[in-house]
Amino acid sequence: MASTIRWFGGAGSPEIAPAASGGFNTLGFFGSSFGFSIRVGEYQTTTFRTNANGTSNGSQLPNVRYANTSGAFVGAALVAEELLEIENNLATLNIRLNTDNAIKTQNSRFRAFDRVNINNNPSGVFIAAAELRKDNASVRGSGDQFWQQIYGSGSVLALEDQTTANATQHDWYVAVTASPVSIGEKTEIGFYFETEFL
């Protein structure tokens, strides 16, 4: 069965192209705007789709910045929101699985690694993530209540099993926040997604 996994920068945002495309194939975390650095120990205030070395602006993406263990600043907001109150369309990433036959999924996982081996930790950056599951503005979400630091195989974010009905498209929404632990550009960070289906 043919299956395709694609990453979008938030719901409705452009696709982050596959690496081999040479185009806007990278998720970039920045300071106050594109190209600005993040201070050591602080979190990104903007997120962009960019090229492999982070020099070209491929459009701004939703930004979800760590505020506390269960909250985040969304976009330019000055007041933090609970993770459970952030809607799917404001997620950093929309991960989409398309299959040519309708399926259910289980054991979906999202991890951060060093772009060499999926079991290795990302280098020089603290990464935390949370699954968002809030598709109705008036109903409290059912995703993750707390941020989870993710690093290689040591800490992996488990995503929702989607087993209610068979479907040819499955979407997961993930908020991602990043904080450098030392000075300098960080490129040894990649993301890995896996899921199982019948």
Partner: protein, 139 residues
């Protein structure tokens, strides 16, 4: 209503596939048929309808390699694992068998990558148990 399963190789059977032998002597092939549930789910309904068990499960790959699981297990498992890093991705065909709450899963790709692991038995719909166990579970 009868359950649609594929009993001989035709255009709906992929080159890399699972093949199940049943206790009534039939052989069922994985298929991809538009508008129908996944073949494994249909196989689960078929063995229930016919009151039979899977006696053997194997995986065949387009490259010619195959994985043969031991016969007569408590249950058999099949699933696909899709993965993507942004720079590469793929789909693994996973087959295994269950015993006493655990399962041994073999994950393999057409190009030869493979990995085996003991995991908790995921249960239905991933695991199809033999008739005696299904009957016990239904009581």
């Amino acid at each position: 209503m009868s359950v649609v399963v594929t009993k001989k190789v035709d255009g709906s059977v992929p080159k890399s596939r699972w093949i199940a032998s049943l206790s009534n002597g039939e052989t069922i092939f994985e298929d991809h048929k538009d508008g129908l549930d996944p073949a494994w789910e249909r196989l689960a309904r078929y063995v229930e309808q016919e009151g039979v068990s899977i006696t053997k499960l194997r995986a065949q790959f387009e490259s010619g390699r195959r994985i043969d699981l031991p016969a007569g297990q408590e249950g058999y498992i099949q699933k696909k694992k899709a993965w993507f890093t942004g720079s590469s991705g793929g789909v693994m065909l996973c087959v295994g068998y269950a015993s006493k709450g655990k399962c041994l899963i073999h994950e393999a790709s057409n190009d030869g990558d493979s990995f085996s692991a003991i995991q908790p038995d995921p249960g239905p719909p991933w695991t199809i148990y033999k008739k005696e166990i299904r009957d016990e579970m239904a009581r």
